[in-house]
């Protein structure tokens, strides 16, 4: 199994989780859209990266208004992606290669075409009338409060038949489930049980702070911190403090129910997605004992620039307890602009994101690797006509949405559509991705892909990097320096996140003996380190 530690430590501590966006991984049916069979065919590639698990973005039945994050049937595979048999085959094939499989579970809301919602909206007194969040209009006909949708406009949609509004934190085609209703919780837990029974190793929980809303439907206060509005200034959502619509205290009890179910199986894991606001507080609460094992926030995903101190500060704030509070680091995923583009011109070559990824992989926690990041892919710049993401279509041109990070994997530049599909794919493969295709990088010893594989293989040999305690060390501005230690000893790490050579001095004892084989080229002379641009030094002491 792809576990790190010995002695029965949970496999997910220090795990590298490879995220697959199935729509864009590999198309085997010739419809321009990736599928489960495509994932199956590339499992050797994935296992060859040296990762421990895969997280597959949603593949269950959906009208695809939000590309699978709008589920109309939680228990069947969408025909676009294949069948349940295909999934079971994939699961078995992954397990045979020592890969764990995490499913993306979208529990906060359903599709408006889910039978639950069709029933709920049909009247005010059907058995599922209260399964979603319904409310009468205000006296003047407007929505019950000031809550806004992440994807634009009020988060309340009028339903003419019931003569009431329903809540949707995202698209109006994504009505929010009412978790104050225990029946809803039970129904969701049944779905979790269904997939656990099938052998799935865990869930990535989509927007898991959005499950509950304030029962009294109180307004959110305005956000006095207009600096937060700068990053998402295109979106009025940033002008509120989301104190009432999301992140409610009742959620903790439900997460505990979900964890209890999870714990009734062997070594399954729950990985929660946290949102922008109050990520640290939520992380502390949500990853406490008996809740989620792992969670990720947008600290790095949302950042337009990243330096050593930012990463150190976030990691410090998240705390270092051994039995709880485990972060899942993520620099890239399907919701954010790819790091080589996002982090500015210095990141364009892919060296900086790779160094950051390596640093994250050495920090305490687990780490996600989003498909294509191992190739150093930049973000696709798509014209409006090609944008399919409803979030991007709403806020274009101030924000172009998430399609730029979702273009298909370039496998082989010598094949049509880079080997992704025999027909034109649902999103185009940008020209800049072609020279970075998998096959070309595999053949090139110094390629990012090969360096990443080498690094992950090297990392695997050092148990403290998986589970060891974390201690930061004072270092120059551009350098991130820390030590991981457990009963087997300690590993010292220093990363230079700048494009110029950095010098740093440490206690010789701390530096230990220099480790080789990681591919980051740092050199030591006594207590002095010389770190090349985006380079690193690793040392070991017993």
């Amino acid at each position: 199994m792809g576990t790190a530690g010995s002695g029965g430590h949970p496999w997910w501590q220090g795990a590298v989780i490879y995220q697959i966006y199935p729509r864009s991984f590999l198309d085997t049916t010739g419809n321009g859209i990736g599928d489960l069979e495509g994932i199956c065919r590339k499992l050797d590639y994935v296992a060859g990266l040296g990762v421990d698990a895969i997280w597959i973005s949603p593949f269950v039945r959906s009208p695809m208004r939000d590309f699978g994050y709008d589920v109309s049937d939680y228990r069947s595979v969408d025909p676009l992606f294949g069948t349940l048999d295909d999934f079971e085959a994939l699961l078995g094939a992954a397990h045979r290669r020592g890969l764990k499989v995490l499913m993306d579970q979208v529990f906060s809301h359903t599709s408006s075409e889910h039978p639950w919602f069709l029933e709920s909206r049909s009247s005010r007194d059907n058995p599922r009338a209260d399964w979603y969040v319904w409310a009468d209009p205000k006296e003047d006909g407007t929505p019950p409060n000031n809550w806004l949708s992440v994807f634009g406009g009020s988060s309340w949609q009028w339903d003419p038949k019931r003569g009431q509004y329903y809540l949707h934190n995202f698209l109006r085609e994504q009505p929010d489930l009412n978790y104050h209703n225990e029946e809803v919780q039970d129904a969701i837990l049944d779905i979790a049980r269904y997939w656990f029974d099938l052998g799935v190793d865990g869930f990535r929980l989509d927007v898991c702070a959005f499950y509950f809303h304030d029962r009294l439907l109180r307004d959110n206060p305005a956000n006095p911190d207009r600096s937060a509005a700068r990053h998402f200034g295109f979106n009025p959502y940033s002008l509120q403090r989301h104190e009432r619509d999301i992140g409610q205290p009742e959620n903790l009890r439900f997460l505990e129910r979900l964890r209890a179910l999870c714990d009734s199986y062997d070594d399954r894991v729950l990985l929660g997605e946290l949102h922008e606001n109050e990520g640290v507080r939520l992380h502390t609460e949500y990853t406490a004992v008996h809740r989620l094992q792992l969670a990720y926030g947008y600290w790095l995903l949302g950042a337009d620039e990243l330096d050593a101190r930012t990463i150190e500060n976030v990691a410090t704030e998240l705390g270092h307890d051994m039995d709880c509070g485990w972060p899942c680091w993520a620099l890239d995923n399907h919701d954010f602009m790819r790091a080589p583009t996002r982090l500015g011109s210095e990141a364009a070559s892919g060296e900086l994101p790779f160094a950051i990824f390596a640093a994250l992989a050495c920090l305490r926690g687990a780490v996600c690797l989003y498909q294509g990041s191992e190739l150093g892919l930049d973000n696709a710049d798509l014209p409006y006509e090609l944008i399919t993401d409803p979030y991007g279509r709403e806020f274009h041109p101030a924000f172009s949405g998430r399609d730029g990070a979702r273009t298909p994997m370039p496998w082989d530049a010598t094949q049509q559509h880079c080997g992704f599909s025999s027909v034109a794919p649902w999103l185009p493969i940008p020209a800049s991705h072609v020279p970075r295709a998998v096959r070309a990088q595999e053949a090139l010893p110094g390629s990012l892909l090969n360096r990443l594989k080498g690094f992950l293989a090297w990392r695997r040999q050092h148990q403290p990097l998986h589970r060891g305690a974390l201690r930061f060390l004072p270092s120059p501005t551009s350098v991130l320096a820390f030590e991981r230690g457990d009963e087997t000893g300690a590993v010292f790490c220093a990363f230079n996140l700048a494009a110029t050579t950095a010098e740093a001095t440490f206690d010789e004892q701390v530096l230990g003996h220099a480790l080789e084989g990681h591919g980051f080229g740092g050199a030591r002379s006594g207590g002095s380190l010389t770190l090349p641009a985006f380079g690193a030094y690793f040392g070991r002491r017993q």
Partner: protein, 570 residues
């Protein structure tokens, strides 16, 4: 020297009736009958299932044969068709779906050569969001047209600046990420409101109108004039009282739009100088060009006067009072009374059905339709429409007495209906294609697949089968319109509505200095007696009951009559 006032004049003044004006030929629009062609559904000639200008040309003889004074064409300007042409991207062009400018000029000449005036549907207060003006306006906060539309900052909490709702559902404010501001749209999101209080904008709009007037168009039906302006301070509307809005509003009984009193987003005082400038901007044409404003979402009975007083603003407005009227005769009568009493020097058009409404036969006379008396009900409503005070706008198919079909959800196209279904079914059912031939596929409307189905029940009411039927609504309309041409009292005269206690009879007098015409309609399925004294004589008008009994007028179900006596009043 004014001549001494007669007792009749004094009484009329005491009762609040306006001074009667003598007929003036130039004021043809007062008593006119206007035929509305919804171009998209009138006649398709290129097989794409959508009506076109050439189709209207082909049917000009038909329209002229109805005897009407003018033809009003629904919008045919270039448009993304999100609201089927009421979202315009170029106010001077022709949408390729409708045809070409050559087609239009041929249509204009063809109408004029048949003695028909041509009115265009003009949308002064909003454009499509794809109109170049809006594309520029939304591009930044400091471009040349930055203030051509109604822009506002977000409220502190990021929400829209006030509580205004779109009558088509949802907030009337849409966020624009380019400017990080909201823009105002009283209807669809893709229909941003122009800021006509801004003089260059109003000048530009007048310029677009003059383009068509220069070509020889006789006037405009102006869309949604209740939205010429909104409150400059963007004050929130108060909620409607619990008893409901006093105004009849569309969009279904649950529409949140009904829960507000539209004090600040509809019919605001700032509209009046705008409409006067619109009028002044086109008043130099000879002969005079006509402006008829569509007034919706407001208490039209009271608002009509200020929009048309002394003929200084619009020549007339047309409203939705008759369209939205409850079918009970006493309530209808009371509404007519109120309408008449509020209008003093202004003018309005009577509209029972249009492209935005339910067809009147199914609304006001559903009881008759249910009893298989659709044609009789249609004749009765046409009679009413042609005898009530005001101009008359007939919507295509009304002359056939078409009932309002029920369309399945799958065929609906109207974004308003799609937003509010099933509480409100939208406007598609009133827009189904014109049935020309009972035996032809799709009623002869198209050789292709029509954009909306031609309802089966409309085929037997097609034009060709009614033309040969002496008793059909179509034949009645043609004859009655011809007869009415010489009835000055009907076209220009005053009106006095008889009390609602006569229900289910509805009666009103139309009078001028020479004659009083008493119109009586039996709005029921039973014979009714209308008592009359010997001073009244029955008028030999097409379709009217002319026999008087000893005790008065005996009216069979759904029949009507006109009685007269000399002189203005009794």
């Amino acid at each position: 020297m004014s001549r001494p006032r007669t007792r009749e004049t004094l009484l009329a003044e005491y009762a609040g009736a306006p001074k009667l004006r003598p007929p003036v030929a130039a004021e043809w629009w007062r008593g006119a009958v206007i035929y509305e062609a919804y171009v998209r559904s009138f006649q398709d000639t290129n097989g794409d299932g959508i009506g076109d200008l050439r189709g209207v040309i082909d049917r000009l003889d038909y329209v002229a044969g109805l005897g009407v004074d003018a033809l009003w064409l629904s919008p045919f300007y270039p448009s993304p068709q999100k609201d089927f042409g009421y979202d315009v991207t170029d106010m001077r062009g022709i949408d390729p779906l409708a045809g070409s400018m050559e087609d239009f000029l041929e249509l204009l000449d063809g109408a004029h050569s048949r003695g028909l005036r041509l009115l265009l549907d003009f949308i002064p207060a909003h454009t499509s969001d794809e109109h170049p003006w809006f594309v520029e306006s939304r591009s930044s906060r400091d471009n040349r047209r930055a203030d051509w539309y109604v822009w506002a900052d977000a409220a502190l909490d990021g929400g829209p600046p006030n509580n205004w709702l779109s009558s088509f559902g949802g907030s009337a404010w849409q966020w624009d990420p380019r400017r990080s501001q909201y823009y105002y749209h009283p209807f669809l999101t893709c229909q941003p409101a122009l800021d006509l209080r801004n003089p260059p904008v109003l000048d530009a709009v007048i310029g677009e109108m003059r383009f068509w007037l220069d070509l020889g168009v006789d006037g405009f039906r102006l869309d949604a004039v209740q939205c010429l302006a909104c409150d400059p301070d963007l004050r929130s509307n108060p909620p409607a009282p619990r008893s409901g809005s006093p105004i009849l509003l569309g969009g279904g009984p649950n529409n949140p739009f009904r829960r507000q009193l539209h004090e600040f987003d509809r019919d605001v005082p700032e509209a009046i100088p705008i409409l006067q400038r619109l009028r002044d901007g086109v008043s130099d044409y000879e002969p005079e060009r006509v402006l008829i404003g569509e007034l919706a979402d407001v208490d039209a009975s009271s608002a009509a006067e200020k929009y048309t007083a002394e003929s200084k603003g619009f020549h007339a407005v047309y409203d939705f009072d008759l369209i939205n009227s409850p079918p009970e005769v006493d309530r209808l009568t009371r509404m007519l009374q109120r309408r008449d009493s509020q209008l003093r020097t202004g003018w309005f058009y009577n509209v029972f059905t249009n492209h935005d409404s339910k067809r009147a036969v199914s609304n006001l006379a559903a009881f008759a339709l249910d009893a298989g008396e659709g044609p009789a009900a249609a004749r009765m409503l046409l009679f009413l429409q042609l005898t009530l005070k005001g101009g008359c706008a007939i919507f295509q198919g009304e002359e056939l007495g078409l009932p309002h079909p029920i369309l399945p959800r799958e065929v609906l196209k109207d974004p308003w209906g799609l937003a509010l279904w099933p509480d409100f079914e939208g406007r598609d059912a009133g827009r189904t294609p014109m049935p020309w031939q009972a035996e032809a596929p799709h009623g002869g409307f198209t050789t292709g697949e029509p954009w909306l189905p031609v309802p089966q029940e409309h085929l037997k009411l097609a034009v060709d089968s009614q033309e040969t039927d002496e008793t059909s609504p179509l034949t009645f309309l043609k004859r009655f319109v011809r007869w009415r041409r010489d009835q000055a009292a009907l076209k220009w005269g005053g009106e006095r509505v008889q009390p609602p206690r006569l229900a289910p009879l509805l009666s009103f007098d139309r009078f001028d200095d020479d004659v009083t015409l008493r119109c009586v309609v039996n709005f029921s399925l039973e014979d009714r007696l209308f008592p009359l004294d010997a001073a009244w004589q029955a008028v030999e008008a097409p379709g009217c009951v002319t026999e008087l009994g000893r005790h008065g007028l005996q009216l069979p179900p759904l029949r009507f009559s006109i009685l007269r006596h000399d002189g203005r009043d009794r």
